[in-house]
Symmetry: D3
Subunit: 228 residues, 6 copies
């Protein structure tokens, strides 16, 4: 399968569906990223582009496409839609991951709306949860990412320029993990990402999960054991 | 795969997801029906049971389970939940089809709520649309039933005792189809069922579809071409 | 009564409420169309304008007003609102039909929002369902269009330049109607329009209907039989 | 036209749509009330029945039907539905007013759900706002009751046994009206009823209004001036 | 405490939360107003600015900040967000009052969205109800403004240039208050404002209230009687 | 302040708002628990009662009230409402914590609805999130429980009879914490509870939080520094 993930800024895709993408790669699928801006409003664009490519490498993504839109100025209009359509037509993805429009960040909102317009003829559109998701984000579909959550955390490590953002902030809680284990090597990785993965995992009945709103899902029925 | 469809009365399952079930059978999967009541409020229960079994045969369902609840008196409480849990534990289905609780019929509403409680540890729960669905029913997942919609219509034919109900009513519209084709052989089959399938098909980007709200969907990622 | 229907592009009004408008004309009311753009993004604007006028003639609409906005660039801002207000003040319509803002097309969304702003002092605003309506569009008010649905189909025939769009696509289903009857003369007319009309008809308890969300409805109480 | 208003307890109908009913009577229509219980949980049932009949007289209602259900024990089940259906079949009303199910009182909720089930084949169902309405009650349809709001207040005066309830409580605010005018003669009538009527009136663009959620509304198109 | 109220135009803040602000001042808190435009689309901007300052004086507000955006052209984008962030950083308010995005006026909608973005690290954001609020505005939090509602009315009096607007319109109803009392001195003050305050008061269980949607509320737990 | 927390079964209150209650106690307030059933459907009622009292001791709750309803058979009707009203009248609490009705467990749903009915005259009702909360639970109000989350975990330890339930299940994830620290002493405590607290903490801008839907909140304005 070909998978396309669309994000407004470098790091949006990783935060929203990085572990799911890592799982798709692990299972032998083709993964494309479309990053609409270079995030120049929160750092040097060429540094952020470099981080973005490094992170994509960690996820083993096949290709990163850049949308060349302006950070903080993404609209839900024709320019954004056409930019996304172009990549969709080139790749013809079976599954599209996009921002949920239920998001407090205007770029995320507009990127989500434009993605749904551009993907109107696609079979599966799954809307991911950013750290700025509105609280009425309501996932219906889950991916069990227990086996690839560590890859997501490593990919997030690549975004060194964003360390000061709250969702990358380290865990200073008295219950903090001992330095000898796992996450302690990557102290700036967010509590929230892991907390959310555990909670979505609980909702899904698995250890760690990413949750998605279903934009559209055309369920294919594969042949079963008794197929003729 | 094992599929379980749960309905409040004989004919609910066929109306809500009959064509999807026929597709699952066609593709070689195992299909179980759980009918919670014998519909004694709208006809002789043994006649309705017989119709139900006949219809299940047309869908090629593997087995019909009866819930022995009282028609018009289904609650969302423990008795209904336990009855459904018992069948879930016996079959261990990969996908459960159940009433959407967004339904004007109290039996449907309660059967839907109880199904979601009983299926809380299941991986996929899809909520179907009955003719009494509230208008805010909002499908997110679709099954392309172009190849099995005729089976659904034939299954509905089995419910002779319900012919007078509006959603089984024939089409007397001047645009009516010629007697030489398809549906004309089964004149009492509803306009609405076919109209809805066309409309849901349009929303899904296919000819004819059944639409479902996603109660819960744990997406499995299968091995792809490049899997190792 | 004076009726005003507002659409973003030529063909939006016909698809959303064409049969209702035909019914209002048939019953002796005055019907105005306000088309905000000439749809230049999907074809030659003068060809589309011509189609639009031809279609309006088939509906027997009294007048077509053009909004002179740019296709794909309609905003929900003051320019759109003022353009609509100008026509509302000229016509002073009793009922306004407008796009529902629950629509995946940004022009439709914005036209809907702007229409509601412009119509804030109007008594009845009904929001119609476009082929791009979001799936949570939830109609509460219905018009029985059994007697005028054929006029809608004929009006849609006028939009020859849009034939390739999915909602104008012909019906190649094996259950297709015989060539000797009704719709077969207009093979490119969408399955979806008819399917939707049947389904909305079922919800309304009539043969064929168009469904509307109620933006605002001030119910007038007419004199009854025993009025003094 | 024949109008049927359905309420759980004596005084529910008056509070929810009393002024609209008074308007329908004033315009020469037939108005029936169906009161499902005698409100025995908040007073002597025969006293409450008497108050109810007195209030109906003030509204000039044609007939009061009693449902003989038990106060505080109304369900959304078959017994309630059948009781309502019986009255609907007898009267065959053009418009039904019923409780909105978005209500904090379980009797109101269940009466609303049962009314919608019983009225599934009716053309117009309008859901009214009780003092216990949930705050997400969202009216779409309004009736201008400026000319009959005083009748509603007088009808409410009939419910002397309920004076201690908050929504019948008098206005002790320093901005209170002078004793020489209007409402001052009926000091126990609620601030809230009048405040709500003003606010709904503002939303509707009139002086005083009652607001309704639209359960279902089949819009009839009457002949216009140019009808043939 | 420091309070910041943000409004799109002069008079929005007063209409939405003027009585609450007056209460905060009365209780000894610091109140800042941020008015994003000078309302030049509905009058002379310098006249409107003057009215705005006069009204702020009546509320005893500590300072009025102007946002220098263009009336009718407020976006939800970065310019609006940055303008609001600047004031938030200067004042560091404990509570922010902002437009609810559920509003029919595009400036209000966008100001509300931008306020929530700008206030993403604030502890308490309360969204107020403008006269153009959509009808699905659903308040969860209330402030009892019985003791300061008169101050709100006086503050509204300052907006003489807006007298013709419907929500400032006088009360010509036959139930009108006698000229000897309260509101009669300020006849153009809206029925609606007072009606709404009574109705929200009823919902809150007090005489007169302003209602708010909770954008975010971090509840602080103060020391109680038995604190150690 | 007096706080009342209402739960359907032993352990519901601890899971939903245990850390908030511990905080209220720590700050010197009075905390009452009302447990509607003894949870006899999932274990020996006297054992569960004992666990419940032990847990309450850990939270330092002032008193546990039992509602004597039947497990799995709680309704939203008068019996439940009266039982809750009785305790409310006795305690007269300033804040009530209750189940959100957006819950998949019928007892939780009904307890939530009945609590809101019973608390209709209370000033603050906060609705908590159970492990069975529907996914559209949408918290607006948060309590920072960083300082008392450990007490919640200890209180949950008291429910030894429920260890096998998924939300009490231990953490076997490879990222598991070292045995030398914090949570490792209580290995059966759920991943989910901690994950959720981190995620809600992130949404609230603090380390660990519990989130609540606002049933009703009458904001009191205390005297400030400049109060006279």
């Amino acid at each position: 399968m070909r998978i396309l993930a669309i994000g407004a800024h470098p790091d949006d895709i990783e935060l929203g569906c990085g572990a799911s993408l890592a799982l798709f790669k692990k299972k032998g699928h083709e993964v494309h990223l479309l990053v609409l801006t270079k995030g120049e409003a929160s750092g040097d664009p060429s540094a952020r582009e470099k981080e973005c490519l490094e992170s994509a490498k960690i996820l083993c993504a096949d290709k990163v496409h850049f949308g060349n839109l302006k950070d903080t100025q993404i609209t839900d209009g024709i320019k954004t839609i056409l930019g996304i359509e172009r990549v969709i037509h080139k790749i013809n993805p079976e599954i599209i991951f996009a921002h949920s429009p239920k998001d407090c960040h205007q770029d995320h909102r507009n990127a989500g709306l434009a993605s749904m317009s551009a993907a109107r003829n696609s079979k599966k559109v799954l809307l991911y949860e950013s750290p700025a998701a509105m609280r009425d984000f309501c996932p219906q579909l889950f991916v069990d990412v227990t086996s690839t959550f560590e890859v997501k955390l490593k990919a997030l490590e690549a975004f060194g320029s964003q360390v000061s953002k709250i969702y990358f902030k380290g865990n200073n809680h008295p219950l903090e993990r001992s330095p000898s284990v796992g996450l302690a090597r990557i102290p700036y990785v967010s509590n929230a990402s892991e907390g959310l993965a555990r909670f979505r995992g609980f909702q899904a009945g698995v250890e760690l999960a990413e949750g998605f709103e279903v934009g559209k899902f055309l369920l294919e029925v594969e042949n079963g054991n008794n197929s003729k």
